[in-house]
C-alpha cells in the first residue's frame, strides 16, 4: 500500500444539499477523505447513503438545481474544484478525473459509434487530430480487452454485450490518462462472471497505469478483494474508515458490524437465515444534529440522540490516515 505520499485528491468537509418542495435534503454531510496516488479506496454503504452523490458533487456532475454543494473543499492537484468556473471544471472532467457509471446499457449514447464516443474527450482535452484520436481510441479498446479493436471502433453500443460496453466505458474514462478514476458501482448491473472479469480488468489497468481509484459499491466481497482502504457511508456521512484488512478484522461502527453480518458465508455451518439490518435508512431532511444510525442501532443511547458523533481515530493515527469511526459507542467500553 502506498503510504506517506501527497494525496492526489483531498476532500474536506463536503456538504451537498438537494432543494425540494418538501424542504432540503442533506445528502452529503461534512464528508472528508483523501486518495493517495495509485491507491484504491472502496466506498460502501446502502442505497441512499450518499456514495454516488458525494462523488458526483466533486466534479459538478449533479444537476443544479435541485442539487447545491454548500461547503467544503475538493483539492485536486492543489486546485479547489469547487471554486472553478464551469468551463474550467469541464477541462478537469474526463481529463484528470474519469468516471465509470453503473449501467453500461444506458450510459453510452446509442446513436454514435463507440469510436466517436472514445475520441470525443481525446480531441477536446488532448487537442488531438481526428486521426491521432482514432489511433489512440483503438489502443484504448485493445487495452480494455476488446478484440479486433480498430474494426470495433465503428460499431455502435447496441452491437456490444453488457460487459463489453462497460469495457468501452472504462476506455472512455481512461482515455486522457486521468489521475483519479471514479467507478460508481461499475459491476452492479452485470452478471457475476462478467463482474469478475471487469474487476480483474480494473486491477490489471491499475497496475499498468497507476491511477488512483474510488470504487463505489454495496458489495463488501468486491471491496475485500480489491481495495486498499474502505470508507463506510451511512446517511450522507462517513461512519467508519480503515485499511481494508483492519476494517474486516476489527469493525468498530455498529453499522459496519451489521453490514458484515449480512454477507452470506460460503464456508462453515450454514446459517438458518441471513442477518438483516432492521428498519429503514433515514430520511435526510433537516441539518444533521443526531447520529443518523440511532434508530436502527442496538447500542443507541441518549447521547446519540443529542449529538452527531464526530470521526475519532482509534489507532492513534490522525483521522483519515488510519482507522477512524464516527460513533459514541465503542466495543471496548461498556455503557451503563
Amino acid at each position: 500500500m502506498p503510504d506517506g505520499a501527497e494525496p492526489v485528491l483531498d476532500v474536506r468537509g463536503l456538504k451537498t444539499v438537494f432543494k425540494t418542495r418538501g424542504g432540503e435534503i442533506h445528502a452529503v454531510n461534512s464528508v472528508s477523505f483523501h486518495l493517495r496516488p495509485g491507491e484504491m479506496l472502496g466506498v460502501v454503504g446502502e442505497s441512499g447513503s450518499g456514495k454516488s452523490v458525494t462523488m458526483m458533487s466533486l466534479i459538478g456532475l449533479l444537476p443544479s438545481p435541485p442539487a447545491e454543494v454548500r461547503g467544503g473543499e475538493v483539492l485536486l492537484g492543489g486546485r479547489d474544484l469547487l471554486k472553478l468556473a464551469p468551463r474550467e471544471l469541464q477541462a478537469v472532467r474526463g481529463a484528470k478525473v474519469g468516471f465509470v457509471f453503473q449501467d453500461p446499457m444506458t450510459s453510452l449514447n446509442p446513436v454514435f459509434s463507440v469510436g466517436n464516443q472514445i475520441m470525443e474527450p481525446l480531441i477536446k482535452h488532448m487537442g488531438m487530430t481526428k486521426r491521432q484520436a482514432e489511433d489512440r481510441a483503438a489502443e484504448l479498446l485493445a487495452l480494455v480487452g476488446i478484440p479486433d479493436a480498430r474494426k470495433r471502433l465503428k460499431s455502435y453500443p447496441h452491437q456490444f454485450s453488457g460487459g463489453m460496453r462497460q469495457r468501452v466505458m472504462i476506455a472512455i474514462a481512461l482515455a486522457c490518462d486521468p489521475d483519479v478514476l471514479i467507478a460508481d458501482e461499475p459491476t452492479t448491473a452485470l452478471d457475476v462472471t462478467i463482474q469478475a472479469q471487469i474487476i480483474e480488468l480494473v486491477k490489471e489497468l491499475r497496475q499498468k497505469l497507476g491511477m488512483a481509484i474510488v470504487w463505489i459499491t454495496h458489495d463488501l466481497g468486491v471491496i475485500a478483494g480489491i481495495a486498499d482502504r474502505v470508507m463506510v457511508m451511512y446517511g450522507g456521512q462517513v461512519v467508519e474508515q480503515a485499511p481494508v484488512r483492519e476494517l474486516f478484522a476489527n469493525p468498530q461502527h455498529p453499522y459496519t458490524r451489521a453490514l458484515l453480518k449480512t454477507v452470506p458465508s460460503l464456508t462453515g455451518e450454514r446459517a438458518a437465515r441471513l442477518e438483516v439490518i432492521q428498519g429503514q435508512p433515514p430520511i435526510l431532511s433537516g441539518a444533521p444534529v443526531a447520529c443518523p444510525f440511532r434508530a436502527r442501532c442496538a447500542h443507541a443511547h441518549d447521547r446519540c440522540e443529542a449529538e452527531n458523533p464526530q470521526r475519532r481515530a482509534i489507532d492513534g493515527l490522525p483521522v483519515g490516515q488510519g482507522h477512524d469511526v464516527a460513533c459514541h459507542w465503542s466495543p471496548e467500553v461498556r455503557h451503563g
Binding site: 456532475l61 468551463r87 477541462a91 478537469v92 450510459s107 446513436v111 459509434s113 455502435y156 466505458m169
Partner: protein
C-alpha cells in the same frame, strides 16, 4: 437500406391502388351531378348528350379503370412527351376536368406551384422556428422562456388558422396597410421590385401557417429533448468534460430528433389539407382552391386526381420518415 426502400416502394403500389378505389367510390357516391351548374332550361336529351360527351354516363367501374389507365399510363406518357419533345402519347385521351374541359394535370401544373411556394416556405420556417424553441424550452424547463413558449404553442395550436388569418388581415392589411389582402397568383418575380412584392404578399399566409406548424412541432421537440436530457448517456457526456453545447446539440439532439422526424415528415402532407382553408382566406389560387372549386360542381375527375395525389404524398413522406429513422438511429436497420 436500398432493398428496404425498394420493398417499401413495391408494397406501396397495392396500398395506393386500394386508396384510389376507395376515393373513387366515395366521390362517386357523393350527391350532386356534374350538370348541376347547367341551367334547368336545357332539355333532358341535350343533358344526356352532355353526360355522354364527358363519359359520365358510363358505369362506375368502367370509369375507374379508365381513370387508372389514364393516371398511371397515359398521363406519364404526356409528361415524358412534354419533357423530351417526343410523341409517345399519340393524342390519347387524358384525364379531363368536367368543369373546365382542360386536362386535370394542366390545372395541377398551374396551381400546385402556388401552394408549394406558400406551404413549403411556411413549413420550412415553422420547423426552423420550432426546433430551437423546443430545444431551449426543454433545456431551461419551467423558465420564463419555457412558460412563454408553452403559452404561445397552446394558443397557436388551439386557435384555428381561419381565425388567425382573418385577424392578421384585419390588423396588418386593412388597418395598417402593410401587406396586400389578396395574393396575386399571376405575379412573376423578375426583378427586385416584384420580389419584394412577392415577399409582401407571402408574409401573412406564411406567418399564419408557420406559427401553426411551429406550435405543434416545438411541443414535440420540447418533450423529446426533455426525455433525453435525463438519460444516463447525457451524464456520461458531461463526465467526459463535453461542453453544454456539445451535450445538447450533439448527444441529446440526435436522439431527440427521431420522434420529431415522424411528426415533421407526416405533417407535411396534412399541411396541404390545412392550407386549403388558408388559401381560401388569402385568396391564393392554389391546389386547395382548385379542389374546393371542383367539389362544389361535382367535377369528379379533378377531385379524384387531386385527392389521390395527396394520398401519394402521404405514402411518400411515410417512406421518407422511415428512411430518416435509419439514418438517425443505427439501431434501426431494415435489411
Amino acid at each position: 437500406m436500398l432493398t428496404f426502400t425498394l420493398r417499401r416502394l413495391l408494397t406501396a403500389i397495392p396500398t395506393l391502388l386500394l386508396i384510389s378505389l376507395v376515393i373513387f367510390l366515395l366521390v362517386d357516391l357523393a350527391p350532386g351531378s356534374p350538370l348541376s351548374d347547367v341551367p334547368l332550361t336545357v332539355p333532358p336529351d341535350v343533358r344526356q348528350k352532355m353526360l355522354e360527351a364527358m363519359g359520365a354516363d358510363q358505369p362506375v367501374m368502367v370509369r375507374y379503370f379508365l381513370w387508372l389507365k389514364q393516371f398511371f399510363w397515359i398521363e406519364p406518357l404526356y409528361g415524358i412527351d412534354a419533357l423530351l419533345g417526343t410523341d409517345f402519347a399519340q393524342g390519347a385521351q387524358r384525364i379531363i376536368s368536367w368543369q373546365s374541359k382542360v386536362p386535370v394535370f394542366q390545372i395541377i401544373g398551374e396551381r400546385l406551384p402556388q401552394t408549394l411556394t406558400v406551404v413549403g416556405t411556411a413549413y420550412l420556417i415553422g420547423v426552423l422556428i420550432a426546433l430551437p424553441i423546443g430545444i431551449y424550452s426543454a433545456y431551461r424547463q419551467y423558465s420564463w422562456f419555457d412558460q412563454a413558449g408553452t403559452f404561445f404553442a397552446m394558443a397557436g395550436f388551439s386557435v384555428p388558422t381561419f381565425f388567425t388569418g382573418n385577424l392578421l388581415i384585419l390588423i396588418f392589411a386593412v388597418n395598417l396597410g402593410w401587406f396586400p389582402t389578396i395574393y396575386d397568383t399571376n405575379l412573376e418575380v423578375v426583378d427586385w421590385a416584384s420580389f419584394t412584392k412577392m415577399l409582401a404578399q407571402m408574409a401573412l399566409p406564411v406567418t399564419v401557417l408557420a406559427l401553426f406548424n411551429a406550435a405543434e412541432i416545438s411541443r414535440y421537440t420540447r418533450s423529446s429533448v426533455l426525455e433525453n436530457l435525463g438519460q444516463d448517456y447525457v451524464r456520461t457526456a458531461r463526465a467526459k468534460g463535453m461542453g453544454e453545447q456539445k451535450v445538447v446539440l450533439k448527444h441529446v439532439l440526435r436522439n431527440s430528433l427521431i420522434p420529431v422526424v415522424t411528426v415533421v415528415a407526416l405533417g407535411l402532407p396534412t399541411v396541404f389539407g390545412g392550407a386549403i382553408v388558408t388559401e381560401q382566406i388569402f385568396k391564393i389560387n392554389g391546389i386547395g382552391a382548385a379542389l374546393i372549386g371542383a367539389i362544389n360542381v361535382s367535377d369528379l375527375p379533378t377531385v379524384q386526381t387531386v385527392t389521390f395525389i395527396f394520398a401519394v404524398l402521404i405514402v411518400m413522406f411515410n417512406l421518407i420518415a422511415d428512411i430518416l429513422y435509419g439514418i438517425l438511429d443505427p439501431r434501426i436497420r431494415y435489411d
